[in-house]
Amino acid sequence: MQIEILATLNAERAARRAAILVTDLEGGAQRVVREAELAADPLADLLARHLASGQSGLVEAGGRTLFLTVQAPPVRLVVIGAVHISQALCPMARALDLAVTVIDPRTAFATPERFPGIDLVAHWPDDAFAGPVAPLDHYCAVAALTHDPKIDDPALAAALRAECFYVGALGSRKTHAARVARLAGAGFGEAAIGRIAAPIGLDIGAVSPAEIAVSILAQIVAAQRAPRTGAPK
């Protein structure tokens, strides 16, 4: 392996961008395909499938045996609202290896007693993203669960601007219609607003907070594992 290849892999990892190292096991020839270059690559479909699954592995292509080393940034889940559903959601999300942060400016809700061991930030979303919480990016899922537009809306706006791979918002269809109108008024287009999963979660008839948490996480996993050939814009 050339040191330049290693340096590229490390730089992409540090920048939280995906990359795939393609190694020809017979000749030892190697190249790095960055996420932004993936769609134009001759092996685009193959690489996209491996990137979606996050799995490294051997592949056959053009009569050659190649090893794909998949390097995808760790996925973060940012939960807006230290509410009852979040209490069920956080431990389940950690079991899925998601790095979880809960943001809620209401200090009565955001207490360590209610969220033991969870990264808890008692700030308004905009202040949180400007300071204690790392900026959102394509490898973040955002679930807005407060029911309060003052708290949820700024987080949803930030999530859409950052092209988060998953953006979900709790609330009835009626609540969401009002939310759509507010976001449109704030300048978001139909395509961007259409990326919000609302009502949040897969429709499994969830009733209890834990069941709703399962439906949300199932939807996040589905979004995470869907093959993607393009880079995030």
Binding site: A7, N10, L25, G28, T69
Partner: protein, 107 residues
């Protein structure tokens, strides 16, 4: 401290830039109950220092030896370990799994 894949590749780059001879080993295939998943890394320097794991310990010694050879001759190689392999009786995987490891020098 337990090293993750990020630490391992960062160490490989840092060690090489310090002028050490460095080899990187990667699990490329597993069968059965192999202890470390495909894509796992082990980095080795020319003094035998290492970080990471390709087998949870069972065949690490043999992989380090191969890595030192790769640093010395500058050539990549693929090595296999497992119950079907003669060497398994020497270094074998007690779990009964089999693995193939790609070992390459960092130039």
């Amino acid at each position: 401290m337990l090293s993750n894949e990020s630490d391992i590749l960062a160490a490989a780059e840092a060690w090489r830039r310090e002028g050490r001879g460095v080899a990187l080993a990667t699990v490329i295939e597993t069968w059965g109950s192999a202890p470390r998943p495909v894509g796992s890394h082990l980095v080795v320097d020319d003094a035998g220092n290492f970080l990471g794991s390709v087998s949870g310990g069972c065949v690490e010694g043999a992989v380090i030896t191969e890595s030192l050879d790769a640093i010395a001759d500058g050539r990549a190689r693929t090595i296999a370990f497992g119950v079907a392999d003669e060497t398994a009786w020497q270094v074998g995987l007690s779990c009964g799994g089999r693995i193939r490891v790609f070992v390459e020098p960092v130039a």
